[in-house]
């Protein structure tokens, strides 16, 4: 098993180097994606082995050329994240072969595969690392490789800007992780991860909690630290967006669940804060998603929303630990961790679908699309599965994980004393609102992009993509359905990972959960059978009267010349919701109403910029640069002044030493 794990890294290494020899030739893609696929097959074996109950694997060695020992371990928690990372990366890589074809030989594809495989390897290492140095180095490698991937289309200003925002946000996050690891290492006397550190004072515990929350929250895309997501995800090539949004942001969640238990028994407010942040990220994430016109930006905001749902799960779990209820803890952590995997699957699927649309139509603007279902039937069907899953609708996987968090929240709200029950009410209210709004948002995304009539010429000429791109989507869609239908089995695979967080007591309670999920499976299967039955019934009803079935135009109230541009658009669909929540969204509108009796021209524009970027990040950064610009007087580019500085400083040091 250990050998397989090491070999999988070897394959990734080969995947980094080999494509570099081919530069712009298509062979670079075959070697790059082939290596990712091979490494995933090799790596998934030990990951699944540990998930299904195998003993954790540990690897320790002290390379001579480094100053620190390398210690890696694959336990159930790491295995769960590793599973998602390998699966989504491999499928995205295969998709990438087809997707990168559109660049022909314009771009250095070999380099992009180098960074892709570096990204996969560093994500895997982040999840395996057991000491702070290895963790931080892989963390940085992950940030840098994804920076280069986001900047793939570096001839576009948008991509360059997005990648810089991403890099800066990423480094800011890391800046909070360094002190966190220093504090922990000082308190525990070693930089290894693992057992709780008993010597932390309550103050230090809180400091560590907030450092972890900011550091890992930035990577995860938690509100209000999410600013880089809506920039970086649309700019990156779609298979990279799928990996970044599906699994890379989850390393932030992994960091939280790996580090927070080291702080010892969590006080009640840890869970409460997580729930508040989760509710905020979830609700605001989906609201901002609704306000977007760009399909990939919409998906990026949905990642913020789903990170919110995962945080709600973790919050429920941590409160469960605080109040000493292993059952609650198990429900919360199981829901949260399962949602990590589920979100990786359906968000990966949706980004790949959006990429197919982008490649076929050359636009991400939803209001320019429409009627793609007839032109891209398979992509549309897969996108529909992803939409249903992300909206948390049965019988798909999103429902299963949200169900667990819901049940935990209801139990907490019903059973705990008032002070501890309030966060659970917040959590279930937020989940309900998120559920409804997410369904609204994906009804919009799917309905406007794939249904109706094409709104532009590009949309009319769209055609289905090749098998390289369809196959990975098909597999992800199947997995979404399979997890939705096999809840009781999946919960068994997640339970060892949950046990590392909730303790073995919670694990035994988890078997009750699998009973609940059994009923869900039952109802889901009944639903599918019933749909089948009604379809047959409908066929029989119609078979007798084929002559009576005719086709016509859509009911248009007798209007003589309807055009596709008169269809409801994504902006008009979302408008009532945007207006209702206008306080948070601050959508800017630019309206020119028709004038005179014979109106000629009118226009309407709306743009929803990111509030936290506009009102937190931009002012802070311009404040800092304003402050720093005052120091410009010191640096005026005159050599004799610099020499003077040196002399002055030497002089000061001399006096100080005297």
């Amino acid at each position: 098993m250990k050998l397989l794990l090491i070999l999988s890294f070897g394959a990734l290494g080969a995947g980094c180097v080999l494509p570099l020899f081919f530069q712009r030739k298509p062979a670079a893609s075959y070697f790059g994606a082939g290596a990712t696929l091979l490494s995933a097959v090799l790596g998934l074996v030990p990951a699944l082995w540990v998930l299904l109950g195998g003993a954790p694997l540990s690897i320790h060695f002290s390379p001579v050329f480094t100053l620190f020992p390398v210690s890696l371990q694959l336990d159930a928690l790491s295995a769960l994240f590793l599973f998602a990372i390998y699966l989504v990366s491999a499928l995205s890589a295969v998709y990438g072969v087809g997707y990168l074809k559109k660049y022909g030989e314009e771009k250095n594809i070999g380099a992009s595969w180098f960074f892709f495989n570096t990204l996969v390897a560093s994500m895997a290492l982040v999840c395996l690392a057991r000491n702070a140095m290895v963790f931080l180095l892989s963390w940085e490698a992950m940030a840098l490789s994804s920076f280069f991937l986001v900047a793939f289309e570096n001839e576009k200003e948008e991509s360059r800007k997005a990648s810089w925002i991403y890099l800066i946000a990423s480094q800011l996050g890391t800046a909070f992780l360094l002190p966190l690891f220093l504090v922990l290492a000082k308190a525990s006397g070693s930089q290894d991860f693992g057992n709780p550190v008993p010597t932390l004072s309550p103050v230090l515990k809180n400091v560590c909690f907030f450092l972890a929350l900011i550091g890992f929250g930035t990577k995860a895309g938690m509100m209000p630290l999410h600013v880089w997501l809506p920039e970086a995800h649309p700019a990156a090539p779609s298979h990279v967006s799928a990996v970044m949004s599906g699994v890379m942001i989850k390393t932030g969640i992994y960091g939280l669940v790996r580090i927070l238990p080291m702080l010892g028994d969590p006080p009640l407010h840890f869970g409460f804060i997580l729930i508040l942040l989760g509710a905020g990220s979830g609700v605001l994430g989906v609201l901002f998603a609704l306000a977007q016109h760009d399909l990939k930006r919409l998906l990026a905001y949905h990642s913020v929303e789903n990170i919110g749902i995962i945080l709600l799960g973790l919050g429920v779990g941590f409160i469960g630990l605080s109040v000493g209820s292993p059952w609650l803890a198990a429900l919360g952590f199981a829901g949260g961790l399962m949602h990590v995997v589920n979100h990786a699957l359906f968000k990966g699927l949706l980004f790949l679908g959006a990429g197919a649309v982008l490649k076929a139509t050359h636009t991400r603007e939803m209001d320019h699309l429409g009627g793609l279902l007839k032109r891209m039937p398979y992509t549309a069907a897969f996108f529909l599965v992803g939409s249903l899953a992300i909206s948390g609708l049965p019988p798909f996987n999103g429902f299963v994980s949200e169900f667990l968090i819901y049940v935990g929240s209801f139990q907490g709200a019903a059973l705990l004393p008032a002070r501890a029950a309030i966060p659970f009410v917040v959590s279930l209210g937020a989940l309900a609102l998120i559920g409804g709004l997410a369904a609204a948002c994906f009804a919009k995304a799917f309905g406007i992009v794939f249904l109706g009539e094409p709104r532009t010429a590009d949309g009319r000429q769209a055609h289905e993509q090749d098998g390289w791109m369809l196959m990975p989507m098909a597999i992800l869609a199947l997995l979404c359905a399979a997890i939705g239908l096999c809840g009781p089995l999946v919960i068994r695979a997640v339970s060892p990972a949950v046990a590392t967080l909730a303790g073995p007591a919670g694990n035994s309670d988890l078997s009750q959960t699998s009973n609940l999920l059994f009923f869900i499976t039952l109802c889901a299967i009944a639903l599918l059978l019933l749909v089948g039955t009604i379809v047959v019934l409908r066929k029989i009803l119609f078979s007798k009267r084929k002559a009576l079935v005719s086709s016509s135009v859509t009911w248009d109230c007798g209007y003589a010349a309807p055009s596709p541009r008169m269809q409801y658009t994504a902006s008009s669909f979302a408008q009532p919701i945007i207006d209702l929540f206008g306080v948070f969204l601050r959508t800017k509108k630019n309206i020119r109403l028709p004038q005179k009796y014979f109106p000629d021209k009118a226009s309407f524009e709306s743009e929803t910029t990111d509030v936290s970027r506009e009102s937190i990040f931009t002012p802070v950064f311009s404040g800092i640069s304003g402050l720093l610009s005052r120091f410009q007087v010191l640096q005026e580019g005159r050599l004799h002044l610099y020499v003077l500085y040196i002399v002055l400083i030497l002089f000061v040091l001399l006096i100080w030493k005297l």
């Binding site: 279902l373 529909l384 249903l388 609708l393 429902f399 169900f403 819901y406 049940v407 209801f410 139990q411 709200a413 019903a414 008032a418 029950a421 009410v425 279930l428 209210g429 989940l431 309900a432 609102l433 559920g435 409804g436 369904a439 609204a440 994906f442 009804a443 919009k444 799917f446 309905g447 406007i448 249904l451 109706g452 009539e453 609940l516 009923f519 109802c523 639903l527 019933l530 749909v531 409908r538 009803l541 119609f542 002559a547 079935v549 005719s550 086709s551 016509s552 135009v553 859509t554 009911w555 109230c557 596709p564 008169m566 269809q567 409801y568 008009s572 669909f573 009532p576 919701i577 209702l580």
Partner: protein
């Protein structure tokens, strides 16, 4: 509480057979208030019979999504009917958290109705769809918070366990019933949220989404809507009408009476109220959410 599967199946059948009666009762009540004779009580049955025998017209814009809408909607609401207890007889499937599956099955039905509407490419239907998703997104927290209040009281987590235990007159129950009545009216497209009889596409919500459906497809939609009315009605009746230790038939009679009363009450509300302006609807739903929260606080105290 009676919980043999045979009884459960029988009560589900009862709902399946009699659900088209409820819209009939509502419209008769409205006719009574207006001093009209009104359509026959069995009008929905007649409509269904007529629609099932007809052909259909499909817009050339539509795809399989348009045809799937009514089918998935009907299947989802039929499965939802196996979760709802009625007159002290528990649902066919009962488990902790079954109300979540119930709510999300109705969500699935709505999602497919909405995308089927968008499939026609009609602006009217897009308008209806857009309103529907907003109102239902606001109604969902009301429903779940109201149930949380009842759960705090009963410490039970499945519809079939909660409903028979809850019926004791208390402040929180009245608040919960009021909140759920708002959800009931909103989800079933009744006044003051939506007017099922309006004649202008621009002002419709639910009706406009199904404007292009015809024949058996429309029969499925009509039937699914009646069943949804029956199920959400059963939820309110189950919470408020007490179930005692008496023969099943008496309990069932009481519940049916409760549904009858609820329908008459709905008809009365529709007769004496005007439909709200669309921008006011969210306020009413938020108010209902506040009622649920207050109920929860009472239950906590």
């Amino acid at each position: 509480m009676t919980s043999t599967p045979l009884f459960s199946i029988l009560t589900i059948a009862l709902g399946l057979v009699f659900c088209p009666l409820l819209p009939g009762i509502i419209s008769r009540t409205k006719a009574f208030f207006a001093g009209r004779q009104g359509p026959p009580l069995l009008q929905v049955y007649f409509d269904l019979y007529k629609l099932l025998r007809k052909g259909a017209v499909y817009s050339r814009t539509t795809t399989w999504i348009f045809r799937a809408g009514p089918v998935v909607g009907l299947a989802a609401v039929l499965i939802a009917s196996t979760l709802m207890p009625f007159g002290g007889v528990s649902g066919l499937f009962t488990f902790d958290g079954d109300f979540l599956l119930f709510a999300y099955l109705l969500g699935l039905m709505r999602f497919f109705t909405v995308i089927a509407a968008l499939d026609t490419g009609s602006s009217f239907e897009g308008m209806g769809a857009s309103r529907e998703v907003l109102f239902s997104a606001l109604a969902e927290p009301v429903l779940l918070l109201a149930l949380a209040a009842v759960m705090r009281e009963t410490r039970l987590y499945s519809l079939s366990d909660i409903l028979p235990e809850s019926a004791s007159i208390s402040a929180e129950l009245i608040l919960v019933a009021a909140a759920l009545f708002a959800v009931f009216l909103c989800e079933n497209a009744r006044i003051p949220f939506d007017d099922p009889n309006t004649h202008l596409e621009l002002t419709m919500i639910h009706e406009v989404m199904v404007l292009d459906h015809s024949g058996p497809d429309f029969a499925f939609i009509t039937y699914a809507a009646s069943l949804k009315l029956w199920l959400l009605g059963s939820l309110i009746v189950g919470l408020t009408v007490p179930v005692a230790d008496q023969p099943v038939i008496v309990n069932l009679g009481l519940a049916a009476g409760g549904l009858l009363l609820l329908s008459v009450f709905t008809g009365a509300v529709e007769s004496i109220m005007a439909r709200l302006r669309l921008v006011r609807v969210p306020q009413l739903l938020v108010a209902a959410g506040a009622l649920s929260l207050i109920a929860f606080m009472f239950a906590m105290g």
